[in-house]
């Protein structure tokens, strides 16, 4: 019989708020990367379906477009912009980290055993990415409501 290798905590581990206090902004970026990734995939599937309405003629296109031309639709699209910018920025940070940039120099592990990789450079990048995502959302709102 196949052995079941369930992750120890699974989804509960994702949403446990106690973990954020323990692991800080890096843990927040980790969960946000997954949430934004899933959100963007869902949006992408919806976008492919939405744009396929062009084949059904002008009336079908306009009625589908009306869904996004509302206040709620614009807020939703602003959220998509924010998710997209955060996912991109944090993704680039992760690529650079995997290439070894910004990890810090190896050092003897002394108490309180803070990992060299979880340093201020990484934290600053995460905060900057969240800030840029917020600015992009604001710009998107001004374009859509403008």
């Amino acid at each position: 019989m196949e052995k079941d290798h369930k992750a120890k905590e699974g989804i509960k581990g994702w949403i446990n708020p106690a973990k954020y206090g323990k692991f800080g902004i890096e843990r927040f970026a980790w969960i946000l990367m997954r949430i934004t990734g899933l959100g963007l995939l869902a949006y992408f599937i919806g976008h492919i379906y939405e744009t396929s309405n062009i084949l059904s003629g002008e009336a079908a296109w306009n009625s589908m477009l009306e869904l996004t031309q509302t206040t709620e639709g614009h807020i939703f699209l602003a959220l998509v912009i924010g998710m997209c910018v955060f996912h991109t920025g944090n993704g680039i940070r992760l690529m650079l980290v995997q290439m070894g940039y910004g990890l810090g120099k190896p050092a003897r592990p002394d108490y309180p055993y803070k990992p060299q990789s979880l340093n201020m450079k990484g934290k600053a990048c995460i905060y900057a990415t969240i800030g840029i995502a917020a600015l992009a959302m604001w710009y998107g709102v001004t374009v859509m409501f403008g």
């Binding site: 990734g37 963007l40 992408f44 744009t51 396929s52 477009l65 991109t88």
Partner: protein, 116 residues
């Protein structure tokens, strides 16, 4: 195993960079005129009928589908592991990706050829 995980992740990063570059162009196309005007039926159809832009859309469709469904696979494998489960997730994601690419390609081809 279909492919080494290190190769899959290189594809994941490559598709991400490609998708970012093409998405910027895709969004810039909406900015060439007033945002709401650019979404009008005739304007969108004219975009599809430009062969260069249709190729860009097809590339974008493939890059985002590959990246998105591989990302979903990675998330699902983080939650739970096991040989049967992993195989199911991998093949399920490949199938979903293929269906989405086929559906999107149909729209691009038909709109490009004026079959509306």
């Amino acid at each position: 195993m279909l492919m080494r995980e290190s190769i899959v992740m290189k594809i994941h990063y490559g598709t991400a960079l490609g998708a970012v570059f093409l998405t910027v162009i895709h969004i810039m196309m909406r900015m060439t005129q007033d945002f709401h005007e650019s979404l009008e039926y005739e304007n969108v159809l004219a975009n599809y009928e430009m062969i260069g832009y249709a190729i860009l859309l097809e590339l974008l469709l493939i890059l985002i589908s590959v990246h998105g469904f591989n990302g979903l696979r990675v998330i699902l494998l983080e939650i739970r592991q096991g040989a049967t489960y992993e195989k199911g997730v991998t093949y399920g994601c490949i199938a979903a990706m293929a269906i989405l690419i086929a559906y999107g390609t149909r729209t691009i081809l038909m709109a490009n050829m004026g079959m509306v």
